[in-house]
């Protein structure tokens, strides 16, 4: 069943912009309730699964504090992206400055493609370690790639619908895991705040820039607002969960956290029901797989939309994303190579690119909002011209 969402945003698209957008603006419209589900399903999965262990290996007891800092930055970046998406800045940007728009789209596409492939490797590593036993890697890669390609090609509306479908279940399982958590914890392990000098904190902290701006693909969609502030609530709930997981991770494991490859799986392992009905890791495996698939699909769709805007066709990005997903984990001697690479100096570049793209989104979002305001205001006698 197709849902036809008409928005004020799509009506504002300028004729010149329509060519750059490939006539997709109406097709890429999601409600803010769906966008909130996307934030929960796609925006936090890699932050709560493999990241706590990686951060702890660098940040020691500063893990939670770096998380809080990253959450603050990520929320600001998402605010910029959602402002870009909900004001129709895409169309205005493309008509005002086509060259810059194309450069922005190409960079976004390349960045999402690279991030998607690295995240895919992370997912493969997790599946090879925690789920698949004695199964050749190509089986894992193909089994995982199929739904990602399917959803990535189908589009943001379908991904959003899937997210809408899964969010209540995933949230319920997640909250149940936290509620039934039965492990010795010491919240004091999050201290001291000063585990290292401030300059060292930021020097190490910015290594994890790849995990910033996971919701950048939403810049290529249009967000239709509802009365209830779903997006604010959804984003709040999602990021509070991230902070809670980071706090619990350090409280549970302390200095042993670097040994944890996937925190969500470990959280479900310490379950009050384990003594009654056996190991409960399956619940977390379900959460992580579904969330990872949706997130990877969103990255693929974002890369394709960026490519459509930059080069007129989504095909190059789709082909490269598919090839990267299948070839890179199989061609590399170990998928760990790529995951380790993501926390080298590459992390600084990742931080820079993520911030740059978010800044552009934010600036264009503000510009579009002003343009809409001017449009809504009756023309003055001195004849202020619209831009």
């Amino acid at each position: 069943m197709k849902t036809d969402i008409s928005t004020s945003v799509s009506a504002d698209i300028l004729p010149a912009a329509s060519a750059h957008l490939g006539g997709t603006a109406g097709r890429n419209t999601v409600y803010d309730s769906q966008a909130a589900c996307l934030v929960f399903c796609c925006g936090i999965v890699f932050k709560i699964s493999s990241l706590p262990g990686l951060v702890a290996s660098e940040m020691l007891s500063g893990t939670l504090w770096l998380y809080l800092f990253m959450i603050a930055v990520d929320v600001l970046m998402f605010a910029a992206v959602s402002s870009y998406a909900s004001t129709g800045a895409d169309a205005l940007f493309s008509s005002r400055s086509p060259v810059l728009f194309r450069a922005f789209s190409a960079l976004s596409s390349a960045w999402l493609l690279l991030k998607g492939v690295i995240y895919f490797c992370y997912t493969v590593v997790f599946l090879m370690v925690d789920l698949f036993v004695a199964v050749p890697p190509y089986v894992v890669v193909l089994a995982l790639a199929a739904p990602v390609l399917y959803l990535g090609c189908k589009g943001v509306v379908s991904i959003a619908r899937c997210a809408e479908l899964f969010t209540p279940v995933l949230l319920l399982v997640f909250v149940a895991n936290l509620a039934l958590l039965d492990a010795d914890m010491d919240a004091g392990r999050n201290l001291p705040l000063e585990a290292m000098p401030p300059e060292e904190f930021f020097k190490r902290g910015f290594l994890f820039g790849m995990w910033l701006g996971d919701m950048l693909p939403l810049a290529f969609s249009s967000i239709k607002r509802k009365k209830f502030p779903y997006l604010v609530v959804g984003t709040g709930v999602s990021y509070v969960l991230v902070a809670v997981v980071a706090l619990i991770a350090v409280a549970m494991y302390g200095a042993a956290l670097p040994y944890v490859y996937n925190m969500v799986i470990r959280l479900s392992g310490f379950n009050k029901l384990s003594l009654e009905i056996g190991r409960m890791e399956w619940a977390a495996i379900f959460i992580v797989i579904v969330m990872a698939m949706l997130s990877l699909s969103l990255h693929m769709w974002g890369a394709a939309e960026g490519s459509r805007r930059a080069f007129g066709s989504p095909l190059p990005a789709r082909v490269m994303f598919a090839a990267g997903m299948i070839a890179v984990p199989l061609a590399l001697p170990s998928a760990h190579v790529l995951t380790e690479f993501s926390v080298t100096e590459f992390g600084y570049a990742a931080t820079g690119i993520s911030l740059l793209l978010a800044l552009v989104c934010g600036a264009e979002g503000i510009r579009a909002r002003r343009a809409h305001k001017r449009k809504a205001t009756p023309p003055q006698e001195d004849g202020g011209e619209e831009t």
Binding site: L165, A195, G269, F270, R279, W282
Partner: protein
């Protein structure tokens, strides 16, 4: 492209993208057909390890497993037996593979709840022992870590009066606090968290094998070869070194550094009365100020019995109980002070003082500063009306 071809393409695309349930099915297929969910081998082919022992000798690791072997009988009958197998190798994995070959069954550690390690084993980097067991052999992180000065295989193979499998006894004794007074079970996760903390010191229950004063009587006469597993003392592991902490000191230390501690407190007053309390709750609080630490321990106990009193009915408000509680406070404080002396003598931070100071001071705290930390403590024992 003809109109007809275009229509066929559009119809195929629509069919491909029509149902979102396809995605759900693919996700379900990934979990069901390639995951552990269906990778269940027949119980007849698996050796379910319920206890594992590790020793380190000049030849390498001596690994022992206590496993349940399930064999199908006629009709609905199945029989269970317990077997201890031992193998020697350069790595723990090599030993487990050898045990698999000896048994002709595939070793699974996913139900192993007890680890018995010799003191020599702790000379190896602790992460190198536990990390492969967790990530490769699916050892639950809730598994209890214990130590023994006997051969671990002897402890695992010990036949007790109540069960053929010593691991069950160890597990229930520790998890239900039926072991020594105040001994707390230490899971693999907690062992690693403490071992890698700033204090780098962890106390684990020490298991001793003893012959019973009288062998248990059965219908066939006295049952010989039965052993008693005694868990009263602690093995303090700090770095690669270990030493034994006697019963009363182990209890006092455990009360201070662990939260969930139960057991009993026995007091003999100067006037000859003997009082017995059950520990209901121990709430330790460690406050660091500069390089000095003050530990306050609030113990809530219930009165079990008083012997040698004046014959009057004894209640928690009786004078003899108050005096006994006061005496218990003094004894616990003395034991904690003694533990601090031992801590300084052995260079092992068993009261976790460095961790307490580190949480306040931060990165400026020098390494190995145990000798520079001043320690004081206060104990409060409150007697509650509880059966």
């Amino acid at each position: 492209m003809t109109e007809r071809t275009r229509k066929i393409k559009a119809r195929l695309r629509d069919r491909f993208f029509r149902t979102k349930w396809l995605v759900v099915l693919i996700v379900a297929a990934v979990i069901l057909f390639f995951g552990r969910a269906t990778d269940i081998r027949s119980l007849n082919q698996s050796a379910l390890v319920i206890g594992m022992g590790i020793d380190l000798s000049e030849e390498g690791f001596d690994v022992s497993t206590l496993s349940v072997v399930v064999s199908g009988g006629g009709g609905s009958e199945t029989s269970r037996s317990y077997a201890v197998h031992t193998a020697t190798g350069a790595t723990i994995s090599e030993c487990l593979d050898e045990i698999s070959q000896k048994m002709g069954l595939i070793v699974s550690l996913s139900h192993c709840n007890v680890l018995v390690l010799s003191p020599e084993t702790f000379s190896v980097r602790h992460g190198d022992i536990f990390d492969p067991l967790i990530s490769v052999y699916s050892l639950p992180e809730q598994a209890v870590v214990t130590a023994t000065e006997e051969e671990p295989s002897d402890v695992l193979g010990a036949k007790t009066a109540t069960t053929d499998a010593s691991a069950f006894l160890m597990q229930s004794a520790l998890l239900q606090n039926l072991g020594g007074d105040g001994l707390a079970p230490v899971s693999v996760k907690d062992f690693m968290a403490h071992s890698l903390s700033r204090s780098g010191c962890v106390n684990i229950p020490l298991i001793e094998l003893k012959d019973p004063a009288r062998p248990p009587e059965t219908e066939q006469g006295p049952e010989n070869g039965v052993k008693e597993l005694v868990m009263e003392r602690n093995l303090v592991v700090h770095g690669g070194e270990c030493f034994v902490l006697e019963k009363e000191l182990a209890q006092a230390t455990t009360m201070l550094v662990r939260k969930k501690v139960y057991g009993r407190i026995s007091v003999i007053l100067d006037t000859g009365e003997a009082a017995e309390f059950r520990v209901l709750d121990a709430s330790p609080e460690t406050k660091a100020s500069g390089m000095s630490v003050h530990a306050s321990l609030n113990c809530t106990v219930s009165l079990l019995e008083v012997q040698g009193g004046d014959g009057e009915r004894v209640s928690p408000t009786s004078d003899v109980v108050s005096r006994a509680a006061k005496k218990a406070e003094e004894e616990l404080a003395e034991r904690l002070a003694l533990c601090h002396e031992i801590s300084l003598r052995e260079g092992a931070d068993l009261l976790h003082l460095q961790e307490a100071v580190y949480r306040v001071t931060g990165y400026t705290l020098p390494e190995d500063c145990l000798d520079d930390i001043a320690f004081s403590c206060s104990v409060k024992v409150s007697v509650k009306e509880e059966g």
